[in-house]
Amino acid sequence: MAYYQSKKIVILIVLHIFLLSIALSCIFPFFWMINASFKTDTEFNNDYGLKPASSLRLDNYKEVIFTGGFWRYFLNSVIYTFTSVFLIILLSSLAAYSFSRLQFPGKNIIFYMFLAAMMIPLPAGFVPVYALLQQLGLLNRTGYVLAMSNMGLSISIYLLKTFFDQLPRDLEDAAKIDGCNKLQIWWNVAIPLVTPVLAVVIIFNALNVWNEFVLASIIFIEDKYMPLQAALLQYSGEQISQHTLVMAALTVTALPIILLYIRMQKQFVKGITAGAMVG
């Protein structure tokens, strides 16, 4: 008995060491990043940014946000994310509601078309999209947001439609008897019922847009329209030896996402794996 007990404990310890060492490798770079962002260059040169910062020195942040223009990039990212996600939610919830509840000819074919878009990989889809935007004269914020709102559209429609399918129709019938039209039912009855899955859809798409780099980097040549990801790469190329400044810039981009993730961990996991689970 004691033999099995101790064998079990040894196995548990080995497993924990394995898990902890991997976990440490995931956390350490971020602690280093945040820690180094508070340091002066001389401090960083002496201790490689490894010793805990003596004070929460915000000079690097001031430099990055005001002189480096990161307030603008941050704002741009927020604007692109909000407008794209708003558009996606609006379009996909309308479409998903119709696919699930309403009848019209060609419904299934159109729905399968959206599904097919999730299955067919378009690894370089940004090339024709860029050419299209160029010809439409939409190489600007509007074009970018429109292109971004297509990115998560299929998956969002699919997720919302399957959720609508599981809901009972009683409430909608009651609303119909009370004289609501379809648009009112969609807004007043259906949307409040899907809030749990709506959260997942919002996070999935918001992360997609916030982290998007390729299209943004070829559309926005001018600094003033750049979102964070494109600006980060440019800034790092300019500040080749200013490690602490780059750390502050990285923290400005990553920390809000990390904090949000820790608060809403469940929705994040569901959101990111949503695409995988569909297949």
């Binding site: 280093w32 040169n45 119709s98 878009a117 889809g125 980060l232």
Partner: protein, 302 residues
């Protein structure tokens, strides 16, 4: 009759906005890229199919372009490591987390931090960690030396082993995602199966081999296919990490991106189609093979 037609029109109008965006930014570009791939359209000015038509010249160029096939090799190399090392690590971590009760939530939260962040953030952060400069700020070499692993000290972002290092960084960024999917799969295996196996005298390895592995085959196939698709079309992290390291870590999308940036839209489209066709072929083969294997071992219900 009239009212039902109006009804249908109203119902249809709900999907019109989504359909417009979808057609404009997915369906149209999809077919448009076939047309563009037959031209030498240079992105500046209006597109004139007749004037810019070059037939299959782009595809011929790709077939004899050593840089392109080198990038495919680099991509395949990284994919190989992601398929083997990353996914086996993720699977082992998922198994371990189901075995330890304490702190399993902590592990789950931590392992998933990396997939949440952008490729650019991860790439730049590791670039700064690995940067070898005469200023003596190469942190990773310093760390490696301090932990008595001095033999590992090297030029991490442009040295001789840069391709392997890039592959490992890619695995490091991606394992959390595979981990979560494996974990969901493992947790969906009914506990009774393990119990009845134990009663029948099966040891841990036998129940893993006969219950866990067969039941998880669909999940494993899915993760493998998505790993291939994801790795072959990843590039932003590598761009941020080492900018291709002088050709050693240039991946297909990076070539397409560079060609588009220099205005070679037709060629970039053709390259995208070649890559897309290869990826579709590979993922269909994977699904087919996995189905065969499952049928052979009698796991597939149909």
């Amino acid at each position: 009759m009239n009212s039902t037609f109006k009804d249908k029109a109203v119902n249809f109008s709900f999907i019109v906005p989504a359909l417009v965006i979808f057609s404009l930014f997915y369906v149209y570009p999809f077919f448009y890229s076939f047309i563009l791939s037959l031209t030498n359209y240079n992105i500046i000015g209006d597109f004139n199919f007749k004037e810019s038509f070059v037939g299959l010249q782009n595809f011929k160029d790709i077939a004899s372009d050593n840089d392109w096939w080198k990038s495919m090799y680099n991509g395949a190399f990284i994919t190989f490591w992601a398929l083997s090392f990353q996914n086996i690590l993720a699977f082992m971590l998922a198994l371990s987390v189901t075995k330890v009760v304490r702190m399993s939530k902590f592990y789950r939260v931590v392992f998933f931090i990396l997939p949440v962040l952008s490729e650019i953030v991860i790439g730049l952060l590791l670039r700064r960690l690995m940067l070898s400069e005469p200023t003596g700020r190469d942190v990773l070499n310093h760390l490696v030396n301090n932990f008595g692993l001095g033999f590992l000290a090297q030029d991490w972002i442009s040295g001789g082993r840069v391709r392997l290092i890039t592959a490992l960084v890619h695995c490091w960024r991606g394992f959390g995602w595979a981990f979560v999917i494996f974990l969901a799969g493992l947790q969906s295996v009914p506990e009774q199966l393990y119990e009845s196996a134990r009663i029948d005298g099966a040891n841990a390895w036998q129940s893993f081999r006969k219950i866990t592995l067969p039941l998880l085959m669909p999940v494993i196939t899915l993760v493998m296919v998505l790993t291939i698709l994801g790795t072959m079309s990843a590039f932003a992290m590598i761009l941020a990490l080492n900018q291709g390291a002088g050709g050693e870590t240039i991946v297909p999308i990076m070539i397409i991106y560079n060609h588009l940036s220099t205005g070679l839209a037709g060629l970039a489209c053709a390259e995208g189609l070649v890559l897309g066709a290869i990826l579709v072929a590979v993922s269909f083969t994977m699904f087919f093979v996995s189905k065969k294997i499952r049928k052979k071992y009698g796991v597939l219900p149909e």
